[in-house]
């Protein structure tokens, strides 16, 4: 790390509001020449918004951006690129049947007069590749290349356009460990050449390994910028999660003794690498909400899919009441009374181009009265859709309105109303209030509490700690596909929760395997 302290990028007081949400508020970020600067934070903490502002995709409502000490305003990514800022997206944007060379020059084609000058482009690409150890072969077809190779192409693409500051959005999410090491070697080359890298991640061990400085974002604001050497993983985790946790409402426990859903020994192995889920065992009793905390990507989606019958587990059983439903198809599970609020409502919960009454039927179309084994009743479905709209305050003209015409909050209220207006035994809710405004959020929470009081067994997966702590009777923490802790929400501290979520500590209070600096 060079001690050249002049900042190449300075973001000051950045605030960005979206309808109903403040995505960034008073953010400060300073990136120096020749440093790898990590930006860490929970999913939804506002990292992506911040980077999109820096890359010109969003314009901040308040605050200023300066490059090399000069104030700038980016109307679009082109401006950002011209100022020397490049972005390597999480999802690669490459044309498969083009060569490496063609992909790199695409959109910035070298011309002499009116002709494409591929010779000059090839020279420049080879030069970039050699200088930063990217090992690119310009004539390979992209479709033949591995994910890591493609990522290097994306990096080369940004460098080709003259970037001095590279934003890497969760670059390690798609890589296997050896590839991660190779990427970090590339980043070291970039740094020693005087370039700056902004490295976005929520994996603390990686961040500590590669970054010169770390800025932590929590709930849209920057809380601190620290040096990894002087900070423990646990301190970092606490910064990420926050020092104050919302106090759960002291409501009377409605938990009964009757186990409604029993998951035992559930495991799903991946094609390569570590298991997606292993040895997941828990019970959900009538009147109980069981919450799952964890940094996203640690097995939550797989767990939900296994319970809903959308993914076949390799080991273990899922038992509903007295029935082993491990081998049941998804439809039978719904019919048996399992409600489902998926994490991505647009893709998994709604038919956007269909009217609300048809959306009322989705998932419940085999269940009378509106649905049935052979026939459905559009008339009854319209009535039921209208009832849901009234009960759950879904603001829409009527049952014939297309789901697409509704705002996100109203869509989510409709989905929740659909699931909960049926007599349920178990509800599986993934991020039930994601993307909805505060008012709707409170209403949804009330509904979940009411249902709990009425004896519903609920599995709640969420990234919102306030939601998890406020609703759960029992809280599990998932880390790398395992349950690493079973906690009592009323007693948990942020330090403890953050430690478990990031893998810094395990249940027995032992020191995490990959983090030697943490004291017991």
């Amino acid at each position: 790390m060079t001690e050249n302290s002049a900042p190449v990028i300075e973001l000051a007081g950045i605030t960005k509001r979206f309808p109903g949400v403040v995505a960034n508020s008073d953010v400060h970020l300073e990136v120096r020449h020749g440093e790898v600067h990590a930006v860490v934070g929970e999913n939804g903490a506002g990292k992506s918004t911040l980077m999109k502002i820096l890359y010109g995709m969003y314009q901040p409502d308040e605050g200023s951006i300066s490059v090399d000490g000069r104030a700038v305003e980016f109307g679009n990514p082109k401006d950002a690129i011209a100022a020397g800022i490049g972005m390597v997206h999480q999802h690669f944007m490459l044309a498969d049947n083009f060569t490496v060379l063609e992909n790199i020059v695409l959109g910035a084609e070298p011309t002499t007069g009116l002709r494409l000058d591929f010779r000059a482009a090839r020279r420049k690409i080879t030069e970039i590749s050699d200088r930063y150890g990217l090992g690119l072969r310009p004539d390979r077809l992209v479709e033949e290349l591995s994910v890591a190779d493609r990522q290097r192409i994306e990096i080369a693409k940004v460098l080709y356009r003259g970037a001095r500051v590279l934003i890497l959005d969760e670059p390690t999410a798609v890589l296997v460990p050896q590839e991660v090491d190779a990427l970090f070697a590339n980043l070291a080359e970039l740094r020693s050449a005087g370039l700056s890298v902004i490295f976005i991640s929520h994996k603390l061990d990686e961040v500590r390994q590669v970054a010169d400085r770390i800025t932590v974002i929590r709930r849209g604001s920057t809380v601190a910028t620290v040096e990894p050497r002087a900070t423990t993983s646990r301190e970092l985790a606490e910064l990420m999660v926050g020092s104050e946790l919302p106090t759960p409402e002291t409501t009377e426990s409605t938990v009964t003794d009757v186990v409604e859903l029993a998951v035992a020994g559930l495991g799903i192995s991946a094609d390569d690498g570590p298991s997606l889920l292993s040895d997941i065992t828990f019970d959900v009793r009538q009147g109980e909400i069981v919450g799952f905390a964890g940094v996203e990507g640690n097995g939550q989606s797989e767990l939900v899919e296994a319970i809903m019958g959308l993914r076949k587990p390799d080991t273990g059983t899922v038992v509903l009441g007295a029935d082993d439903m491990t081998l049941w198809p998804a439809q039978d599970r719904r019919a048996a009374g399992i409600g489902f609020i998926p994490e991505d409502r647009h893709r998994q919960a709604l038919l956007l181009d269909a009217p609300l009454w048809e959306n009322r039927l989705l998932g419940w179309h085999v269940k009378p009265p509106a649905g049935g084994r052979y026939w459905i009743s559009p008339r009854l479905a319209r009535q039921e859709a209208a009832a849901i709209m009234a009960d759950y305050d879904v603001r829409a003209p009527g049952p014939e309105t297309l789901a697409d015409a509704l705002s996100g909050g109203n869509q989510q209220k409709f989905v929740i109303g659909r699931e909960m207006s049926t007599k349920l035994r178990v509800l599986v809710a993934a991020h039930p209030t994601r993307g909805v405004d505060v008012g709707a959020q409170a209403a949804i929470w009330d509904r979940l509490r009411e249902a709990r009081a009425a004896g519903l067994a609920t599995v709640l997966v969420s990234a919102d700690l306030e939601e998890l702590l406020g609703l759960s009777d029992t809280l599990y923490v998932l880390f790398r596909g395992r349950i690493v802790a079973k906690l009592d929400p009323s007693e948990v501290t942020p330090k403890v929760l953050g430690g478990y979520m990031t893998g810094a500590v395990t249940q027995d209070g032992e020191v995490g395997a990959q983090d030697g600096e943490v004291e017991g």
Partner: protein
């Protein structure tokens, strides 16, 4: 009442599109130096004598029936986003098998016909099962596999009509054909009905199978709008991922949709087979309904009622072909007009759909004050 109003509103863009198509075709006719008004007259010329008029109506019905069935078959797959180009091959296979089996058996009249119909549907479904299985087990695109299977069907049908199903009494110089289906397996024509209605009887047989087609159309309409299967089909087409997340297996739906589509395709060749040809002969077998059916399904917006209207329109234009030639309009003009109709309807419809969508969104916002602020904020 409001639904009736909605229906009329839904039809309006189509009518606009039809007028547009007519105008564009008129310009074409002007360009080739003929009289568009004379062409328009020829389009609606059903003949001078009552017999000729009855005949024209008969031709119209006979042409519309297979087009309707083909459009219906295609639309089933369209509904869930599957592109079954294989209706062409499916109905060819179904027709040759039905002709072969129908000629080999003799049963009392209604039963004989029923057996032939069932055999045709089964054969069509079986041939459609191949791309379905390829898609669900190996991920082979149905577009590719059905195109390939269309070619294979031509060869396979040619072999079937020469070897297992060949008419043994055919002379050596004659074109291969199956034996004629016994009278008990021939579908009565509608010619008498014309007489009963006080019209002249058409000279050519008017295929009574149109009655079966109408019944099938009604059944399909009910199944699509009221049955669990219809809902699952629609849900899979609108959002396969959401359908799967809600327990609708996309593999099962691909298989079901293809089988139903193939079974309907099996009916396409029957009006002609049971109504007038009574045997399969490669030369006189009318090919191409499977492809035209794609256009018919598009024009009919995948709804049975719409497909019926589209089939009637296509048949109406086809019927006018020879009349137009007498006016000096080349026969290709009919095909061009059909293409223009499909394009204009799709374009006008898309525009209308977007306008409708925007209005819906405005109305939904008006209901919801929280989203109104969204507009201001963004």
């Amino acid at each position: 009442m409001t639904r009736l109003l909605g229906w009329v509103r839904g039809l309006a863009p189509t009518l606009v599109a039809l007028v547009m198509a007519l105008l564009i075709t008129g310009v074409f006719i002007l360009i080739i130096g003929e009289d568009p008004l004379a062409a328009l007259g020829a389009l609606f010329d059903f003949g001078d004598s009552p017999t000729a008029q009855a005949n024209s109506i008969g031709v119209w019905i006979n042409r519309a029936t297979p087009l309707f069935l083909a459009g219906l078959a295609v639309s089933i797959c369209f509904r869930m986003g599957l592109f079954n180009i294989g209706v062409e091959g499916q109905y060819r296979m179904a027709t040759v098998v039905a002709a072969g089996v129908g000629a080999a058996i003799v049963l009392p009249a209604p039963l004989h016909i029923l057996v032939i119909v069932v055999v045709a549907m089964a054969a069509g479904a079986a041939y459609a099962a191949i791309p379905a299985v390829l898609k669900t087990t190996r991920g082979v695109s149905e577009v590719i596999s059905t195109i390939m299977l269309n070619s294979i069907a031509v060869g396979l049908a040619a072999w079937l009509v020469r070897s297992p199903f060949a008419d043994p009494d055919l002379g050596s110089g004659e074109t291969a054909a199956t034996r004629e289906i016994d009278e008990s397996g021939q579908f009565p024509g509608l010619n008498d009905l014309f007489g009963a209605l006080g019209l002249e009887e058409p000279r050519r047989p008017v295929h009574g199978f149109v009655v079966v087609a109408i019944v099938v159309g009604v059944i399909i309409a009910v199944v699509l709008s009221r049955s669990r299967f219809g809902f699952e089909l629609r849900a899979s087409g609108l959002n396969a991922m959401a359908a799967a997340a809600n327990g609708i297996s996309s593999r099962a739906m691909v298989i079901k949709a293809m089988l139903l589509s193939g079974a309907l395709a099996g009916l396409v060749g029957l009006p002609d087979l049971l109504g007038s040809a009574h045997r399969f002969q490669s030369d006189s077998f009318v090919a191409g309904y499977g492809f035209t059916g794609i256009a018919v399904a598009l024009l009919g917006r995948n709804r049975p009622g719409g497909i019926a209207l589209a089939a009637l329109l296509f048949a109406f234009l086809d019927r006018a072909g020879p009349r137009l030639q007498s006016e000096g309009i080349p026969p290709a003009a009919v095909t061009i007009m059909q293409g223009i109709v499909v394009l204009s309807v799709l374009i006008v419809d898309e525009v209308a759909r977007r306008r409708l969508r925007r209005r819906e969104e405005r109305r939904a916002r008006a209901e919801d004050p929280t989203t109104r602020s969204e507009e201001v904020a963004s």
